[in-house]
């Protein structure tokens, strides 16, 4: 069977770059294959996808050697415009992938560019809108869509011409877990029902490995592994632990083989060995939910009297109520108290009010009702670290001691925009932490687009910060990251806390707000899960 994508000995260097981004890369993707491209940040994943879409070298320039053939078209002779008929592309940022004003026009745009007659354009738009479940959005303005909707529309535009291959560069990095999972399921449907070959670059491998036929790992621009998911996980266990999924780490620590590609596979293996405690069922949700029920007026009065004796919190709010100009309430009487040195994860779906709460705690906005209390300055780090970069040199952005604290002292003369994603995040943290030491630090979705190693580094820094007495509050969708750094989780829904308790209680009891290990064995981390499995093994051996 002829390959839909053939990469032969490609070495590519961006114009002005000192080192190549791709080194002698060769791979083949067969029609209908689902290939995941993995690797740490800056390993060449995006460049490989851009080479397959023709943007490298036609759009980016640079030095290109080797050959890329997409659907029979050689990228040396055909540019991205020609290749778009064979390969649809989707990148990270939904905002820059929308060109026209309405969804219908956006979906029609690629078809019109290919010279399709009006009837074919209309049919193509209808088909792709139905396939992706966005028919209700067709006449909506693209400026009114949420990030998830925008990404879906961009995927629709990439698929409108029914390409044989779809190339996706971390398409879920800007999405919340629900929207991200939905996107991956859509890809699986496309792959299974229409035979579209999928090449997906992704950091959160646990989200997509169960759907993949193969995993291609890049390191330093070269292919270091090209294998089915289970073999890849075995390889990662020995050679690249940062790429292991939590499920694979759980199995490795429990001494089980083979590593599972997903939750279903892991549970099946454990069930087969009699190691799955299915009779116990999931831990109850009620205790944590009950803990945040609104107290009565009398209870609140008593609590107020008691509070006079208790020391002030590092950061908190009482009865915080926030309404939008249109009247919609975003936060509804939120009470929160974060002690000095405490590490708290703030979780909830998109629109639950997490960012709004952080913006009010950070003093960026004034509430409609209620008040914010802080024992000192509150450092607030918003979602995009690039927004903080205003100067020409790293050293001009933050004081030297703050740069040293985040490990950037040696990069003072670099331009901030030349730093990697993880380094920019650390620089933004140094910017907000600079000056007087803060009593609390609030971070809004700091792990977007980060690889596992960078997340681990950030978790270490947050723990060190808390150890120095600073209260840490982080809004995140990433249950694995929350498990890595937090002691306590506050779960928001519809503008009010619905759960507030120790992380082991909150993140092991749900379907959605749960780590992968919790969904497999009901334990928070792979280490705890492995311990649980070992105990069960011991029980079986010595009844």
């Amino acid at each position: 069977m002829s390959a839909v994508l053939r990469v032969e000995g490609v070495t590519y260097t961006y114009g002005g770059a000192a080192a190549p981004s791709l080194r002698d890369v060769s791979l083949r993707v067969a029609p209908g294959e689902f290939v995941v491209v993995a690797g740490l940040s800056a390993c060449g994943k995006s460049t490989l996808l851009r080479a397959a879409s023709g943007l490298v070298p036609h759009f980016h320039g640079g030095t290109f050697a080797g050959r890329v053939v997409v659907g029979g078209l050689d990228t040396r002779e055909h540019g991205p415009g020609d290749l778009s008929a064979v390969a649809g592309s989707l990148f990270q940022d939904p905002e820059t992938q929308i060109v026209l004003g309405t969804v219908r026009n956006e979906l029609a745009f690629p078809l019109e560019n290919r010279g399709a007659p009006p009837a074919a354009v209309a049919r193509g738009v209808e088909e792709v809108a139905l396939a992706l479940g966005i028919e209700a959005l067709l006449d909506r303005s693209t400026s009114e869509l949420s990030g998830g909707e925008l990404q879906r529309v961009a995927l629709g535009a990439a698929l409108a011409g029914r390409p044989r291959l779809v190339l996706l560069d971390e398409p879920t990095s800007q999405l919340d877990p629900v929207a991200g999972d939905e996107l991956v399921w859509l890809l699986r449907r496309l792959n299974e029902e229409w035979g579209t070959a999928v090449v997906l670059a992704e950091h959160r491998l646990e989200r997509c490995l169960a759907h993949a036929d193969r995993v291609v790992v890049l390191a330093g621009g070269a292919v270091v592994c090209d294998a089915p998911p289970r073999e890849f996980l075995s390889w990662a266990g020995e050679r690249a632990p940062a790429l292991q999924t939590p499920g694979a780490r759980l199995f490795a620590r429990a001494g089980l083989r083979p590593p599972p590609a997903g939750v279903k596979e892991a549970r099946a293996t454990l069930r087969a060995h009699g190691l799955l405690d299915e009779e116990a069922g999931p831990p109850p949700l009620a205790p944590t939910a009950a803990a945040v029920e609104r107290p009565s007026v009398a209870d609140r009065a008593r609590a107020r009297l008691r509070r006079d004796d208790t020391p002030p919190a590092a950061l908190g709010c009482r009865g915080l109520w926030v309404e939008m100009p249109g009247g919609r309430a975003v936060l509804r009487a939120v009470d929160l108290r974060v002690e000095a040195g405490e590490r708290v994860a703030l979780m909830g779906r998109n629109g639950a009010g997490k960012s709004t709460l952080l913006r009010h705690l950070g003093g960026l906005q004034r509430p409609t009702r209620g008040r914010v209390e802080a024992a000192g300055r509150v450092a607030l780090l918003l979602q995009n670290p690039n927004d903080y970069l205003l100067h020409e040199r790293v050293a001009d952005e933050a004081p030297a001691e703050a740069l040293a604290a985040v490990g950037l002292a040696a990069l003072g003369d670099r331009h901030p925009r030349d730093l990697s994603g993880g380094e920019r995040q650390r620089l933004a943290l140094a910017i907000v932490m600079g000056g007087d030491p803060p009593a609390a630090v609030c971070l809004d979705e700091p792990t977007r687009g980060m690889d596992r190693a960078a997340k681990g580094d950030l978790a270490d820094r947050l723990r060190a910060l808390a150890a120095s007495g600073v209260a840490v509050l982080v809004a995140t969708h990433d249950a694995e990251f929350a498990a890595a750094f937090a002691q306590r989780v506050v779960l928001l829904a519809d503008g009010r806390p619905i759960a507030d308790g120790p992380i082991a209680d909150v993140l092991t009891g749900g379907w959605y707000f749960a780590t992968e290990t919790a969904r497999i064995v009901g334990a928070l981390t792979p280490e705890e899960g492995a311990e649980r499995i070992r105990r069960r093994l011991t029980m079986e051996v010595t009844p």
């Binding site: 940022d93 004003g101 303005s141 903080y388 600079g434």
Partner: protein, 291 residues
């Protein structure tokens, strides 16, 4: 101010018909000087805006164009020496010399100001009710690259506007660390301008992978005309014909200098009524306007 799809006959019309309609109203405002007829054009475009659900957009346009129109009305008597009816003598003002304010110059200034407001309202109606994507598609047939450059610019503006809002928030989060204090608007603006290049590259890359620059020629669409397409195109043609016919027949003549002459007879009154009626007639048929 931006296009928002609404259930109105003007929104339901194709961009070429809607654009022609707005252009015809603007042409009437530019061609007709008689205050009664100019007033009729303003009533017509305001009525069209309300019927199209673009009341807020027209109000915004009026808010910005009224001061400009007023400025024109006030400046004209200062710079024009014509007119016989002096209502105020400012005396010798170097370098203008003797400056006398005349009623004729003031009235002509008001006519010019009203024209500015009328044209601004026509533009606001166009922006609010005519699909920009379809308009770009029309121009693409004339100049493909220019139309896509325009699309890129149009798309980039809201992206940069959102970037600047986020950057201003981020700047507000910076502590005063004694290094020149928190950055000002200029620093934020400079950062937005710097990031504009990156953003433009991202949008341009999207255009490329969506088939921009493909070697296939773009065929013109040949969709059947709807009743609203026909109504607004016909209205545009009749409006232009009325303005041209009035000029040929000498109806609605207006002269400001040396003395005001703006006769109001049955011809002018009838023409004013016709302009409003012809402009608003396409809105009477509200079938098939939901989309």
């Amino acid at each position: 101010m931006r296009f928002r799809r609404r259930a109105s006959p003007l929104h339901a019309a194709r961009a070429s018909a809607g654009g022609a309609y707005c252009a015809a109203l603007a042409a009437c405002a530019l061609a007709l000087q008689h205050p009664l007829l100019l007033g009729a054009v303003i009533v017509a475009v305001t009525g069209a805006g309300i019927a199209a659900g673009a009341r807020d957009e027209l109000a915004t346009a009026a808010k910005f164009s009224l001061p400009l129109g007023l400025l024109v009305a006030l400046v004209n008597p200062l710079v024009v020496r014509d007119g016989l009816t002096v209502f105020f003598r400012l005396g010798e003002i170097p370098p203008f010399g003797q400056v006398d304010l005349t009623v004729e110059a003031l009235v002509y200034g008001l006519v010019l100001g009203a024209r500015v407001v009328a044209v601004a309202l026509c533009c606001a109606l166009f922006v609010a009710a005519v699909d920009p994507d379809e308009t770009l598609r029309l121009f693409r047939r004339v100049s493909f690259r220019s139309a896509l450059t325009a699309a890129l610019a149009v798309r980039l503006m809201p992206v940069l506007a959102r970037d600047s809002r986020r950057m201003a928030d981020a700047a507000a989060c910076r502590p005063d660390s004694g290094r020149g204090s928190a950055p000002g608007r200029v620093a934020v603006l400079r950062a937005v301008a710097t990031s504009a290049l990156d953003r433009a590259v991202d949008v341009a890359a999207t255009l490329e992978v969506r088939g921009y620059g493909a070697r296939t020629a773009v065929r013109p669409a040949a969709e059947p005309w709807s009743r609203h397409d026909v109504a607004f195109a016909a209205s545009a043609v009749v409006l232009v014909a009325l303005a041209a016919g009035a000029a040929v027949a000498g109806i609605g003549t207006f002269a400001a200098y040396p003395a005001l002459r703006a006769p109001v007879g049955p011809g002018e009154a009838g023409l004013a009524v016709l302009i409003v009626a012809v402009a608003l007639a396409p809105f009477a048929d509200r079938r098939g306007i939901e989309r």
